[in-house]
Point group: C2
Chain length 314, copies 2
């Protein structure tokens, strides 16, 4: 049996046919054209699903279910997307709309949850029953996998690991609270910390790398400067890793998963990020006389969305 997974993004709709082991057989994509009304977007999702099934040499009867990963909060039980900020969807009956075109079970979930499930099935956490994935991007997404299944609470709105306060009374977060981990450990937070350092140390390599144009600073800039021995860059990276480690240690003290997976652009820094991060976490973690959580970089990259959505039906 095979599964269709759809990764509904603000820019593209990607869909793929995935086997039992979380391997993509065939995939394709179309632009989301996000300003459209939901019936049009969902019709495109259904047509793309039929196309990838056909192009994979299969028929609808070979497919067990269609999974959809989307930003925002799903009502999994009723197959309704409660909201999706990128798309301005509100209470969209996704399952019912899809089933106008394809007579298959339709399961929906949050994209960060789907990524975590994908890494659990065929990625960096495939050997773990319990794993947590954080995705470091514009925000800081979280996905909790317990016994190889997504855990998202009784209302499907849990797993918001980025929206946990680690700096009481700290920076104002988009969610309205002050001091959320997301404000310090997301790529956005890192960029802000890098800009502050560039202003504080105008002669630093950070400034040279962007020709003095601070708007060109991205989540790599401080790491690039630090790797070339720049003091300001090193300070930013050191402090950033402390923030990242604080939240990760919190998660480990709560969940002690076998594996904690880090995804998103910043995770590409690899050992330069992971080595000091692991040192802080192993120093700070609560339970020391027990087997320890393994911290790993995500393996599936952009495919995680399709794979995880497909595996919702497994």
């Amino acid at each position: 049996m095979y599964y269709v997974g759809i990764d509904l993004g603000g820019t593209n709709i990607a869909a793929g046919v995935v086997d039992e082991n979380g391997r993509i057989i065939h995939k394709d994509s179309v632009p989301t054209l996000r300003e459209r009304e939901y019936p049009e977007i969902i019709k495109d999702m259904a047509m793309l699903s039929l196309k990838v099934i056909r192009d994979a040499g299969l028929e609808v009867k070979d497919i067990k279910s269609i999974g959809i990963g989307s930003p925002g909060t799903p009502n999994k039980k009723d197959g309704i997307l409660i909201y999706a900020n990128n798309l301005k969807f509100r209470n969209v009956p996704m399952r019912a709309e899809m089933q106008k075109y394809i007579n298959l079970p339709v399961i929906i979930d949050n994209d960060a949850n789907c990524a975590a499930l994908a890494e659990s099935v065929s990625g960096a956490a495939r050997d773990a029953d319990h794993s947590i994935m954080i995705t470091i991007g514009t925000g800081l997404g979280g996905g909790i996998v317990i016994d190889k299944k997504i855990y998202s609470g009784f209302n499907y709105a849990g797993g918001e690991l980025g929206h946990t306060v680690i700096v009481s009374g700290g920076k104002l977060c988009t969610c309205g609270r002050r001091g959320c981990w997301e404000m310090y450990a997301s790529a956005t937070g890192l960029i802000e910390q890098t800009k502050e350092a560039a202003q504080q140390y105008p002669d630093s390599l950070i400034n040279k790398l962007v020709d003095g144009d601070l708007s060109r600073i991205d989540a790599k800039t401080a790491f690039d400067a630090a790797k070339q021995g720049d003091e300001a860059g090193r300070k930013v990276v050191d402090q950033y890793i402390v923030y990242l480690a604080e939240g990760i240690t919190n998660i480990i003290n709560i969940f002690t998963p076998q594996v904690l997976v880090i995804g998103g652009g910043v995770s590409k820094e690899g050992e330069y990020l992971l080595k000091p991060l692991r040192e802080i976490v192993s120093r700070d973690v609560y339970g020391k006389d027990v087997p320890q959580t393994s911290i790993r970089v995500a393996e599936l990259g952009n495919d995680a969305g399709i794979v995880g959505a497909a595996m919702l039906g497994r």
Copy 2:
């Protein structure tokens, strides 16, 4: 069928016979005499178990299992208590020792986890599949119940909700980290905050309530002063509730349980604590367009240890 639950504390060993519904049929206790070696203490636990079974009018064959709730970290799989700070136990083969005296399955777990399970079976969270319990005492204990079962990670050391940093770089915690929630929201934290206010406002009612002897301040003092209109007391209580709410909101954003149960002495403040707490949490929580977590006071009191330990075998 019935279950025996043992609550192993630093002062007393309490044991009870509990029915399928989490109701205590009969209970009894003996002093722990904690300075003794573990074989003696465990022998007393076994003898007490046999006594409560007999005094309940039952026989060993009527009992399905014996559960033991203990401070510290268990290895549930092997029935070994890895450590228990109160008792200076290290790698104690609890199951094997107990089975020298009684031929029944023996299951062990952390006391905070047992309390959470008890509230889930027959206490404040009996209507919830997913519930979290925090116990506000000397420390800040946590117990996670998912699908009516304790979740404590792959190494049984999870659920340490008190050891999550909410004040980056804050007060030094007993665990070695800085800014753990336990330092701010435990009874110990509240007492410290009350003492600081007493020093800052020497004319406050706080000082009068303890006749100027700050060593007599306990976790009720600030609440008592605040209820009588004292400004310093009110400030302490307001700030304490903010700290408590910050950690609770974090937990809800992660788990969105149906019910979050608050146990321990401070929970006896009832609505005076809960009303402002619920207001902050409902303002700050991430998912607002979804069913909300209910925050409740624990119902089982000291019996939670026996009931939860017994229910480990259910």
